[in-house]
Symmetry: D2
Subunit: 293 residues, 4 copies
């Protein structure tokens, strides 16, 4: 199977390499072309522009850093739109808002092409290991065609129905994660102030019914007041805000998410927005932000 | 090693059986003596009264149903106190409040005996499999003596320091669990009302960084509105209240736990207190209590 | 002093009548021209279109029902924009969002005119009695010119600085009001369920440091479960959401407002959105919406 | 009418003086007898002990500083109990918890006497002006006998039924007050951070439907970060905790009070417990406690 691949950042490079390793023929493009070298050494072809990649390949995957990059690759000169059309499919796996996805979707469909949004859950390590979780939505036929690629990139892919549902599913998951982080932090503080060892609490939690990878991974660094940003707090808070807005549209009352959101806002007001989202622990500890990255 | 064992309810019987299987000599007692038969068939001796068990054994473990049973076995006629003394140890593994533990502890120590509180995390299945988590506190020397028994009964035991710390640790864990349950339920409701499949949300969660046994176990039945009480909601709410009180004593602000507690209270007011604590889902769904056990 | 007046709904008619009674020469316009009759009988002139009113008067006040009406009167054919210009002032006293105000402001200023937004606090009765509170912002010189009119229409006017501050001030006030309503309702429920008379609570509150007109006015009808919509709950919830968004922009953590907002959302989900905002009482009572308007 | 009066602190002295000014014959007692001088100058008689006051007077009022003083005056040697009995009434107007009131009530009734708890709302100034609000409960016949005295001491007295209802009513009122204080503080912070003048917000609030004496009195000092303790924050937080406990007993879900309580707890953790309860403003401002008394 032949695919185009646009965007070779940390995530994109790992994903394209996986496809090559599994026998896909891949034509890559990146704004800084030198980033393609490593993949060329693995057997990739290179396209000069997004348009030329799409011209060559029936299916093109994009993994860009943010909404403006995602839009630029499609709508700018030499962009995807110039060559997309009947019989071609475009799959954007970047994490973007629903409005961006919909704008791209409509433009691609107007040209006769097919579009799937497919944001992923998981960061660098799962990308390298082909262990992403893929939340796809949009054109079902294109999704079905992409399954062999998704099987290589992720441990599981989901088709969630209409456009926007991929982004919504990510919001719901991140909202639960944000509330859990607050619950966890409150527990660590309560243990500490009540004369219990927070380290022992971590050990006890890890043996019980609520043991989960996040507690295990973040707990020890939180106890050290160290918040190297795997997922920046300001992005977590933005996702909670968007999830609460989604709840507002649908009249869903979510008091725990609302309380968690206010704690994340407090963290932002203390200047912790660029640290990891686990830095909300500083708000609950009440130290007023002696945190380090 | 020889131990006495008082209380052969669901938990106690499984635990005593484990000890027998691992070569311990066990003398059992139960208020209803017929419950001892099964263990006698496995090789247990039987004591007529708690006092006679303590008279015979250097170490005696109790696993009673509630604080009043725990007190009765110690303080009533023919109770533990009559025979406890220098060189003997008493270990109460029942889940009781700190006041009860302290009352027993003081009485035992006054007689010259040693005392350890050792509430467990885990229910019937982990008890049978020797996979409990044991949260011990009190007399360190007695704890050390008991390690061989704890190794059989649990996958892990913790010594948490001064009396009361075992109960406190359980409160902290249950508080986190209660907030997580609310976060989970809010996410399921948001998914449902936003046009996403809650079942798919369960699948997505199970593959990610916040996957945990509780979500996996409770999620499917929550979606069916079925709340067979593994841990009754009224007990969960009581534990959240006690955890918040502990926070109050130590001036720990815990807004997410407080919001969760109010949701559990709402569930109680809707008559859901005897269902499983996951029935708080009915509050968030807003159905006003069409729940079933 | 001569002023134009656009919009003769409940509020507008009362305000224009006040101006006439105090000796202002007023030229009125309304989409349904028959609504002008009553004011003509009091001495008002009538304009055929918004444009003709602006052509005739140095200052024109508008009091329209909503943002779309506010925009239509300015931007449509025969609208304000056709005649506004150097030396003329336009004052919009409608309650609109900041975006609407800014759009009108820019268009008017581009034509060389001056603009003031001046939303009011107070409804029908204060409008009739000239007891409104006027929250003005925008062009200071125009505000100064309008003071004689504002003195007639309101008991007090404030100049709040740059455009948008009038709308923001209303949001802050309404946010406090919404949280107070929740606090009040919780107290009434607690009294009731604790065996105290909620009616006596109203009497006690009315004699103390937190006595306020809202408790006095809304309390008795809330106890009867009667919620005739003076200020619809869905609008109160919208204002709380906007206030929380304003807080989000400025990283202000507001947990009480957030909790109140979730209660109002719950009320919406129970179908109470068109009742008075005091109908949030039904959520706290937990009756599941047996409310009446 | 003749009454005894025990306790001449700030409140008690003002109240006893009022009774004298209105023609009551008053026999006073105070632990430090010299505090009686001023009242003797106004015409009061003096009793050597609580017992001798009760022996002389058919009705005795107490106004003590705290529960331990209230208990001491009754149960200690030469205390009220020694002389109370058939045909005599004892009225405790101190602010004490329900348990204290009940203990006194039972002891007095066992001796054949009648008892009324009558905590007041209002501090020094209203006490001097006879403008207290009296929340009485217990023996209705004694309450009726006391109405002439209550009419002098307060602007209004309520008979609330069974013992304990006086204390409960105070809790409900204070809970609403605490939530209002949080709502107010959040609004002041939001105004400030959004570029509005908090001082202007005070002016706007004072003209609207939620204007109340507390906002008017506390607002200006809060803006200065000055919190001279009229009602200490730790007492306000204690009352919120007790009100939430009362809600817990009766399954009343009160999310706004719960969120407010957590903010007061945060304030305590920042060392603000001895300042006025309006010092919760420091938590919301996020300054970490640069507050002054």
């Amino acid at each position: 199977m032949e695919v185009g691949f646009l965007g070779l950042g940390i995530m994109g490079k790992a994903m394209a390499a996986n496809l090559l390793r599994h026998g896909f023929r891949v034509t890559v493009w990146n704004r800084t072309l030198s980033k393609c070298d490593e993949l060329v050494a693995m057997g990739a072809a290179v396209g000069d522009t997004p348009a030329s990649v799409v011209a060559k390949c029936k299916y093109t995957i994009a993994m860009l850093s943010d909404p403006s990059a995602a839009l630029s690759v499609v709508f700018d000169k030499d962009g995807v739109l110039e060559q997309i059309g009947e019989g071609k499919g475009y799959v954007d796996m970047s994490t973007v808002d629903a409005a961006t996805s919909c704008k791209i979707s409509e433009a691609v469909k107007q040209k006769g092409g097919a579009f799937v949004e497919a944001p992923v859950s998981g960061s660098k390590k799962p990308a390298e290991d082909g262990q992403l979780v893929i939340l796809a939505a949009g054109d079902k036929a294109l999704y079905d065609d992409m399954v062999p690629a998704f099987d290589v990139l992720g441990k599981k892919s989901f088709f969630l129905g209409e456009m926007g549902n991929g982004a919504k599913m990510k919001l719901v998951v991140n909202m639960i994660m944000g509330s859990m982080m607050n619950a966890f932090s409150e527990g660590l503080c309560l243990a500490d102030k009540s004369g219990l060892s927070p380290q022992t609490l971590l050990d006890v939690l890890d043996l019980g019914a609520i043991a989960n990878p996040m507690f295990k991974m973040k707990g020890p660094s939180m106890l050290q007041g160290s918040y190297n940003p795997a997922f920046p707090l300001k992005h977590q808070q933005k996702d909670m805000r968007l999830a609460l807005s989604l709840g507002d549209e649908n009249a869903v009352s979510m008091p725990v998410a609302a309380a968690s959101n206010e704690a994340f806002k407090k963290a932002r007001s203390l200047g912790l927005g660029d640290l990891d989202f686990s830095a909300v622990h500083e708000v609950l500890k009440g130290t007023g932000g002696q945190a380090k990255a």
